[in-house]
């Protein structure tokens, strides 16, 4: 049986993860602290994102494009978490945050989408702060790409709630 062909997106994600891991290894040689602490905080948030979308998907309360968005975004959050994990391992980190335990999602579809949107805001804010702290160029480039993806999630979630998808010119995760 032949292996499934890699899509362009798979390849891009693999390259991003690989760049992060390489940067992580170089980072470990250059500065054992600093970037690593920032990544640990981001990883904990990404793990929480995966759980948030899993809870929402399991609730069965979303349908149509809302359910499709939750499934897709959960998968993309997992890619972010995997890339950060690889980078941290490349930096020699042995103690990584454990994923939080899933809990039952409460509320109707609108409340669940709002929950996801609020969490995306937190993630955007964390990446925004990280941009001032990270020093490795490769980590900065990847963080920028992830932050932009979280901003897109937020835009789609806002559309699902009937709101303006892009209400501010400077997306900082506040307001």
């Amino acid at each position: 049986m032949s292996a499934p062909a890699l899509t362009r997106r798979d390849l891009a994600a693999a390259l991003a993860a690989s760049a992060l891991a390489s940067a992580g290894a170089a980072e470990a040689r250059a500065r054992p602290m600093g970037d690593r602490e920032v990544l640990l905080g981001l990883l904990a948030l990404e793990q929480r994102s995966v759980v948030v979308y899993e809870q929402i998907a399991r609730s069965g309360k979303l349908s149509g494009s809302a359910a499709a968005a939750a499934a897709l975004f959960g998968d993309q959050e997992r890619r972010h978490a995997d890339a950060l994990t690889q980078a941290l391992r490349g930096m020699g980190a042995t103690s990584l945050p454990k994923p939080p335990s899933p809990q039952d999602a409460r509320g109707d579809a609108g409340e669940l989408i709002r929950l996801a949107a609020e969490h995306e805001m937190k993630c955007i804010r964390a990446y925004y702060e990280a941009h001032a702290k990270l020093r490795s160029p490769a980590l900065l480039a990847t963080a920028a790409g992830v932050m932009a993806n979280e901003a897109q999630h937020l835009a789609v979630l806002r559309q699902l709630l009937g709101r303006d998808p892009s209400p501010v010119a400077f997306v900082t995760g506040e307001g």
């Binding site: 362009r8 997106r9 891009a12 994600a13 991003a16 760049a19 390489s22 940067a23 992580g24 290894a25 170089a26 980072e27 040689r29 250059a30 500065r31 494009s65 499709a68 968005a69 897709l72 975004f73 998968d75 993309q76 890619r79 972010h80 890339a83 955007i124 925004y128 702060e129 941009h131 001032a132 702290k133 020093r135 490795s136 160029p137 490769a138 900065l140 480039a141 990847t142 920028a144 790409g145 992830v146 932050m147 932009a148 993806n149 979280e150 901003a151 897109q152 999630h153 937020l154 835009a155 789609v156 559309q159 303006d164 998808p165 892009s166 501010v168 010119a169 400077f170 997306v171 900082t172």
Partner: protein, 203 residues
């Protein structure tokens, strides 16, 4: 002998002539900032980062924002309904980016690049026959900006400038999600196709 152009370029020609192909985005938008990407592989801060280079990077970004304002301005008469409302807001946001970037360049002691006259942009753009042409062209331009910002952020020395540019990048990424959604029937996999946004997403 030079021959005056009588027909507008097509989309691809425009991007090529303007040097705005996705792969060239970083080189053009951040012209004058020197150097390649070899520092990325090292995982250490870019030793060539200087306040002067930061200023050049921001001025390059300003060119892109001024072009984006012109694209939305030219496209508006072709649009109706929700797409038009989004495009109006996006144009205003691109203008906010341009004003902010110009202010930063000025505060850093530089002279902000000035927008070209509207007719000059219009003549350089491909012919847009309707909403579909506009959505494709605007997506291309937004993606050029995204590529440039993703490549430019690691080159900025000042952390606060990196934050400002990242906040603009995220706004452009949201624009692309909406534009792709408008072309693809608001399917999430079309609006948000890649977990690491690089400016290569198309519908």
């Amino acid at each position: 002998m030079s021959v005056a152009r009588t027909t507008p370029p097509n989309r691809r020609e425009f991007l090529r002539v303007a040097g705005l192909s996705a792969t060239a985005a970083g080189a053009l938008a951040f012209a004058g900032c020197g150097g390649g990407d070899d520092e990325s592989a090292l995982g250490v801060p870019d030793p060539r980062a200087t306040p002067q280079r930061d200023r050049a990077i921001l001025n390059g970004a300003l060119n892109l924002e001024n072009t984006a304002v012109a694209v939305y301005t030219v496209g508006l008469p072709l649009l109706r309904g929700a797409v038009r409302r989004h495009a109006e807001r996006f144009r205003d946001q691109e203008r906010e980016h341009a004003v902010a970037l110009a202010g930063l360049v000025r505060r850093m002691g530089g002279a902000p690049n000035v927008a070209k006259p509207a007719e000059e942009y219009r003549a350089a753009f491909p012919r847009l026959r309707g909403e579909s042409d506009f959505l494709r062209f605007a997506t291309d331009l937004e993606n050029v900006g995204i590529s440039a910002y993703v490549e430019g952020i690691p080159k900025l020395k000042d952390g606060r400038l990196r934050q400002t540019v990242a906040s603009i990048l995220c706004d452009e990424a949201q624009h692309v999600a909406v534009l792709l959604g408008a072309r693809g029937g608001d399917r999430p996999d079309v609006s948000v196709p890649e977990p690491f946004v690089t400016g290569k997403a198309t519908a």
